[in-house]
Structures are given as structure tokens and as C-alpha cells.
Assembly symmetry: C2
Homo-oligomer: 254 residues x 2
């Protein structure tokens, strides 16, 4: 994470570079230990710098270091979401997820520690930082969906998917990053599509969003998901479609 | 929660009744304040009993009270999951969710406090209690699906849905229990079905589970979801189905 750390060289760094080096060092230590077990002395030792130097950057001590590291991670996460509003939505979501999962893989257990909390340095302030990232993610997604005033069902669909992404990332880290990251990303995109479509069945706003999204997909994501999913019940003679499903047949047959 | 609390009467209660009364009182206090701000004295005052009596039941102080309250809540949650393995799966899931959401509604902000953590009394032990409930929920669901050795994709689908249920419950409480609880329950069942079906598109084990589940549904849940969902893209002339989707048409037409 900090290539120069083990050399103990006092390479001249700018204030911003030094701060970043110390935060990266702290994050790498959080990857292996609970935040409250990481002292400023540990950071100094690992970064190969003097203790007074670390204390100069973080005069508020451990709590300030932890919050700064969390904020730095949060900023990095927010940058993952930045994606031009062009092209099929599934592609945009895939690219954002690629960046997000690269972040998760890079910070590994540090990511778990940050998200799982359960530490004495956890405060309403640190919780607010993590919640801020979730809110930013939801705002990005709703922006890409072209929704300015999301109703409760659409909002809940997006927010619960974001939680599912976090949970899946933690499980993925627990299971030694299996399945491969590309499979995880595709699965997450599928889950988003499926969740959105299921909500669309009961919510007119979400139904409109799905229709607009389909217009951008050129058969790419939604059609491919449907193609994978619908043959699943093929072992049965037919899908147990009630009479209300009659329009389905018309919809599927041009 | 504790009907006799305001009367300050020293009604004779059995040890178990008294313990339950004190735990219920504690949970109701946690509903409005962070766990670390609830003292044993507060519990004594609210329950209308003497301070020594509360200290007799919880000699380990605040931390013991909190863990006992959390354990009691966890036991109650586990009971929500108990559902006979009979009949359509969507019905079983709905009934379990009804009990779970009744628990959420009853404990309100106390439920949020328990799940959100972010408190100084949060420890690896309390985290383990909450995780134990999640694991129990996953085991129940996999049991109902008839799966003994879930592969990573099926396991991830079930576990992320459980996280989504928690997140949706917290959002629901934040939004003054809107939408109505029955709508929330139906939406959660839809999301489970959709998530499972989406995973089935890439995972043979999950595909087999979905096929077996369909056999139990008699067109009830899956068919109804499909009937609601598939007409959504009806505004387009046709679904953007790629060539790979050809089997879909055969599947849907008996």
C-alpha cells in the first residue's frame, strides 16, 4: 500500500503526500486489526516515520486518525460511483461495480472493519460517514435512472440493493474472494435488474423507469437476464401462469 | 410493553416473570435512547421497582443488561422463523415475515438500536448474537428450500436477501411504517423470488431449487409475480430478447 514504508527513508513528501501515506498506512493496519487496537505509534513504525511527525498530522489522536481514514476511504468510494450518463444502464452499473469491488479487494479486511463497526471508536460521526456513502450511491443510481423524486418503493429497492452489495462484498471477502470478481459483479447487476423489475410489478413509477431503461439497453442486460432466467422452469410442462398473465404471451411475441 | 410499570406496585412476580419485565423495560428504553445512555437506575425507575432488585438480576451492570436484552430479542426473533414445512413456499415466507415485521413494529427504535450498533456497549459478543440470528434465518430458509449443502451463489442470495430485509425494516421504521406492513411483506417476498430466479439463471443448484419450488406453488407466487412483472415492458413493441432467448417463447407457450 505504501511502497516506501519498509525502507524507513525520510523521503521528502509534500504535506498532502505525507498525509495520504499515513492514512494509507492506517487503513492497511485496520485491515488486520480492530481500529481501537491501532495506535499512532503503530502507524509511525509501519510508515517508517517518527512518532512526533504522526502526532503532528493527527493531534486528536487515534479517534482523529480513524475518522480521517474513514473519510479518505469514503471519498475514494464516492469516486467509484462517478460514471458518465451515457449508454446502457447495465454497462454503467457494471463499471461502477468494477471500481467498487476493486476498492473492496484492495482494502480487504480493512473494508470489513470499516463497514462492520463494532469497535469502541465507532461513533455517531463515523456512522454518519458510512451512511453518507450509501446515500451518495443511492443518489447516483437514481440519477442514472433519471428519477428526481423517487417514491418509497423505488427508493427502498435501490437502498436495499446497496445494502445487499455491501453484504455480498463482506461474504465475498470472508470466502477468499470467491466467486471470481467478474462473476460477483454480473450477479450483482442481475440482482439489481431482478429487484427493480419485481418492484415494477407493483409500482407505476418503477415500471416507468424499467420501460425507459429497456429503451437504453438494446436487449443487452434485461433481455439477457430474461433469456437466462425464463428457461429455468423449463422442466415443468409450462410456467404456472394464472389468467392474469395472458398479456405476457402477447408481450413476448412481436 | 410492561403494563404494570407505571403503577409502581410490587406485584409478586416469579423470578422469570420479573426478569422478563426488566428486559422488556430495558428494550423499551433502548427504543428511545442509545444503549449506553440507559442505566440500571433508569430501568428500576421505569419498571417501578427498587434499584437493588435490578442490580440483583443484573449484577454485571449495564453491559450484562444490554446483552441479556439483545439475547432475549434474538430468541424472540428466532421464534418468528419457526414455520411448518408444508404448503407453498411463498406462504411460509409470508407468515414468517408477518411475525418478523410484527417484532420490528413492536420494538421500533429499539430494533434499530439493536441492529445499528454504533454504541460503546457494542462488542464482538453482541455482534455475534445478531449474526447468530442472521445465520439461523438463513438456515431456516435453506431448510424450507430443501437444500442441505448450499453452494456459494445460493448461500449468497439467501444471505443478501436477509440483509435486505433488515435494511428494509430500518427504512420502514424511519419512514413511519410506510408502506403498510402487508405491502412491505409482499414486496419482500417478491424480492426474494426475483433474487432467487435471477441467481437460477447462472447457477444450476439454484435453478433446481426454483424448479422444485414451482412444483409447490400451484401458480401462486411465482406465477403471480411473473404476471405482474412481464407486462411492464409492454409499452415497447416487444421485449429486447436476444436470440438466446428463443427457448423463452417455447417455455411460455405450452
Amino acid at each position: 500500500m505504501t511502497p516506501e514504508a519498509p525502507t524507513r527513508s525520510y523521503r521528502r513528501l509534500s504535506v498532502e503526500e505525507r498525509r495520504r501515506q499515513l492514512l494509507d498506512t492506517a487503513l492497511s493496519l485496520f485491515a488486520h486489526r480492530a481500529p481501537e487496537e491501532v495506535s499512532l505509534d503503530d502507524v509511525a513504525e509501519t510508515a517508517g516515520v517518527s512518532r512526533p511527525l504522526v502526532y503532528r498530522y493527527f493531534p486528536g489522536g487515534k479517534q482523529q486518525l480513524y475518522e480521517a481514514a474513514l473519510r479518505s476511504a469514503a471519498d475514494e468510494l464516492r469516486q467509484c460511483f462517478a460514471e458518465p450518463a451515457r449508454g446502457p444502464l447495465a454497462g454503467r452499473l457494471s463499471r461502477a461495480l468494477d471500481r467498487y469491488l476493486a476498492f473492496v479487494a484492495r482494502h480487504d479486511a480493512g473494508f470489513s472493519a470499516l463497514l462492520r463497526g463494532g469497535s469502541v471508536v465507532e461513533t455517531s460521526r463515523t456512522t454518519a460517514i458510512v451512511d453518507g456513502v450509501r446515500r451518495a450511491a443511492a443518489a447516483h443510481i437514481l440519477g442514472h435512472l433519471g428519477v428526481e423524486e423517487p417514491g418509497p418503493r423505488l427508493r427502498m429497492t435501490v437502498r436495499t440493493w446497496i445494502t445487499a452489495v455491501e453484504a455480498a462484498s463482506l461474504i465475498w471477502l470472508d470466502e477468499d474472494k470467491q466467486p471470481p470478481v467478474d462473476d460477483l459483479r454480473d450477479w450483482l447487476v442481475d440482482q439489481f435488474t431482478a429487484g427493480l423489475v419485481a418492484t415494477a410489478g407493483r409500482d407505476p413509477q418503477t415500471a416507468a423507469v424499467v420501460r425507459d431503461a429497456l429503451g437504453l439497453e438494446s436487449g443487452e442486460a434485461f433481455g439477457a437476464l430474461l433469456a437466462r432466467v425464463l428457461p429455468v422452469p423449463g422442466a415443468h410442462d409450462r410456467l404456472p401462469l394464472p389468467d392474469a398473465a395472458e398479456p405476457v404471451r402477447e408481450t413476448l411475441l412481436p
